[in-house]
């Protein structure tokens, strides 16, 4: 009997095209769009050397410090300049006019001047470079005049060093990724789209919600048994949908979910239970038509996903910073955060906290649904 009901309910769900679109195909499509939109987010912006020139006049030849500096910054893979050395200013001007270079330096004694034709980021970099050179050379001159002894104590090397008081410490072994959270919210949203399956199951078991349910209620089958069979079928379908989505995201879109596959699957399963039970509770609690209930579910899921960072990644951190309680009351965020903590943290403390809270929410949703649908006589139909 249980199997008969479960299999038939599964047929009903699988043949509901609208339901299948929202619970399976829509997350797949959205994931594809995410990949198209965020694929460059993690790639470091590459720096291209600036085409520049320096006039090799007598002052340049005599200024060994500046000459050596220019040689250093125009050599190797991490060079700043693609440097052209010209003999005269006219030659450099011609290159500048032709657009072959961004600007050129002219040495005059210890001073260095910069000539550019227009303003822009590359021109600003060239100016900053010249300013830094002038500041450093001026400092060296001052030291030579006032305290030549300091030169012997390695003051020159210290001048070129930058002091950084901040140290970057990784929180886990996973590489930093700016885009994974979007995909975690996608999985969380997809899990919660399972609420539409839960909604359908309750509609088809509550005699005051549908004619078919009336017929089922009139049969010699315990109502809760029929409901449980239907929900089991819905859970099997929904978990399979999430597995397909996970496989697509990890294998096709190549999004990294870390190495804790077992935990990821456990999270997805609990997410499915949470989504289904959420939908069944909303369906049982509101005696409205199906469209109204769908609107309630959709709005709740979208708000939850927004607060979990689906539309703007910063939102997740803003909520955590200014209203942390909301992070723990938003089941979509708990699911997102469980996947996030599995990826970033080597320890399971935060993950287990999220899973515990999700379990508690699922228990509340299931209990609420049971208390509402357990009644077997209705005041009106």
């Amino acid at each position: 009997m249980f199997g008969h009901i479960m299999l038939t309910r599964m047929k009903c769900l699988l043949r509901d095209r609208q339901l299948m679109f929202w619970t399976l195909f829509f997350p797949l499509i959205l994931g594809t769009f995410f990949q198209m939109a965020f694929s460059n987010l993690d790639k470091t912006e590459s720096f291209k050397p600036i085409a520049a020139a320096v006039i090799e006049n007598d002052a340049y030849k005599n200024n060994s410090f500046f000459r050596q500096l220019m040689d250093t910054v125009s050599e190797g893979d991490s060079r700043i300049f693609n440097l052209t050395r010209t003999v005269t200013a006219e030659e450099a001007n011609q290159l500048l006019e032709a657009g072959d270079i961004v600007g050129y330096y002219t040495a005059d004694g210890n001073q260095v001047s910069l000539t550019v034709k227009s303003s822009g980021i590359n021109q600003s970099i060239m100016k900053s470079f010249a300013d830094q050179y002038l500041q450093t050379s001026s400092a060296v001159e001052e030291i030579i005049q006032t305290n030549p002894q300091a030169l012997q104590n390695g003051i020159l090397s210290k001048l070129s060093d930058e002091l950084d008081l901040m140290k970057e410490v990784p929180i886990g072994s996973a590489p930093l990724s700016l885009s994974v959270n979007y995909f975690y919210t996608l999985i969380a949203m997809a899990c919660f789209y399972g609420s539409f399956l839960g909604l359908k199951e309750v509609t088809d078991i509550q005699a005051d919600l549908s004619n078919c349910a009336m017929r089922v209620n009139m049969s010699p089958v315990h109502k809760f048994k029929a409901f449980l069979a239907g929900m089991t079928g819905a859970l099997i379908i929904h978990f399979a949908e999430i597995l397909i989505l996970l496989a697509y995201v990890t294998q096709i879109l190549k999004v990294d979910f870390g190495s804790k596959t077992g935990y990821v699957l456990a999270t997805a399963f609990l997410g499915c239970v949470l989504g289904l039970s959420f939908g069944s509770l909303i369906s049982a609690a509101f005696k409205k038509n199906e469209n109204t209930k769908t609107a309630i579910l959709l709005t709740s899921i979208m708000i939850g996903s927004f607060l979990a960072g689906m539309m703007a990644m910063n939102m997740k951190y803003q909520v955590m910073k200014y209203m942390p309680i909301l992070s723990y009351l938003n089941p979509v965020n708990l699911l997102t955060d469980a996947l996030y903590s599995l990826y970033y943290y080597d320890t399971l403390d935060r993950y287990l906290l999220n899973m515990g809270l999700m379990g508690a929410f699922a228990a509340v949703f299931c209990l609420g649904t049971y208390l509402i649908i357990r009644r077997r006589k209705y005041a009106s139909l």
Binding site: I5, R15, P220, H222, Y378, S380
Partner: protein, 311 residues
């Protein structure tokens, strides 16, 4: 006794839907519940099926109190609701199989019963069709098949012919009689008096949640003063003196002339057609067609409640 309802009261807030209603359904009969829309027919059915809470009264089915957990009783009941109750995602066969499977565990037996139900309602050519592809009449037949496939002893049909074409309606009514002949007790609710008159062996007429009359159709018609109704199509306007003379004939209750139609109502138990024809001939009143009708259940309802059954 298959169903016994005693003193049932059901309120929807201020509205008294069932007002101390009592009725009995005997084994093997086709029991008709006749009443206008809103008279409480569906409410009493839902109370009997233990789907609806009620405020007062007792309900017994097969001699036992009916409760939501009376699974042994439910096993022998088949219900065909007013609204079609089938799953759009399942084919005709799958729908019948699903609902039959809620009663019958054995797969082979279920398969046989589903086949029999399909044959019974004449849906052999539509077993792989989805409900949305079926016409209104075929959909109603599927609705019936889902309710009777498990061979129940008691079948409750709540307005099963609403919005059905005449051909399907006849098929459905013939099927109900056949089910009764096979041994099932039938409870049939309708606001179509012709259907109730056609198939029901005993009838309860309801109005405003109360039973206003009970009996066979002959017994119900015997309760009212009205007898035969004669309608004569006249070619000329009726003279007032002729109408006055007609009213004086023995057994005539009322005479009216309107739009070239002469309507004559006679008292209970009298056949006045012959004397009316004699009167028309002797007065040289030319006439066309003549209709003679016996009182209907609508006349019964009209006389008891003062309003038409379809008001």
């Amino acid at each position: 006794m298959v169903i016994k309802v005693k003193n049932l009261v059901k309120r929807y807030d201020e509205l008294l839907a069932l007002d101390h209603l009592s009725l009995e359904v005997h084994k093997g009969e086709i029991f008709g519940l006749l009443g206008p829309n809103g008279s409480g027919k569906t409410t009493i059915i839902n109370c009997i099926l233990s789907l609806l809470k009620y405020d007062k009264g007792e309900i017994e089915v097969f001699g036992k109190p009916m409760k939501p957990e009376s699974y042994d009783l439910k096993r022998d009941i088949g219900i065909i609701m007013q609204n079609v109750a089938v799953f759009d995602e399942l084919t005709v066969y799958e729908n019948i199989d699903y609902f039959c499977g809620l009663y019958i565990r054995d797969k082979a037996e279920r398969k046989r019963l589903v086949r029999e139900a399909i044959e019974f309602v004449g849906l052999e050519d539509f077993t792989k069709f989805y409900p949305k592809k079926l016409s209104g009449g075929l959909l109603r037949r599927l609705n019936i098949a889902c309710g009777i496939a498990h061979k129940p002893k008691l079948i409750i049909l709540d307005e099963p012919t609403v919005a059905v074409d005449p051909q399907s309606r006849n098929k459905i009514l013939e099927g109900i009689v056949k089910l009764n002949e096979q041994g099932a007790t039938i409870v049939y609710t309708s606001h179509y008096m012709e259907e109730v008159e056609q198939i029901c062996s005993r009838i309860v007429i309801m109005d405003k949640g109360k039973v206003v009359a009970t009996g066979s159709k002959e017994e119900l018609k015997g309760m009212i003063a009205l007898g035969e109704k004669i309608t004569v199509e006249t070619f000329a306007a009726a003279q007032p003196e002729h109408l006055a003379e007609l009213r004086k004939l023995p057994g005539i209750e009322s005479v009216e002339w309107h739009d070239k139609l002469l309507s004559i109502k006679s008292g209970k138990g009298r056949n006045n057609l012959e004397q009316v024809l004699d009167f028309l001939k002797t007065r040289n009143i030319s006439f066309g067609r003549i209709y003679s009708e016996l009182p209907t259940l609508n006349d019964v309802f009209l006389e008891i409640t003062g309003k038409q059954l379809r008001d």
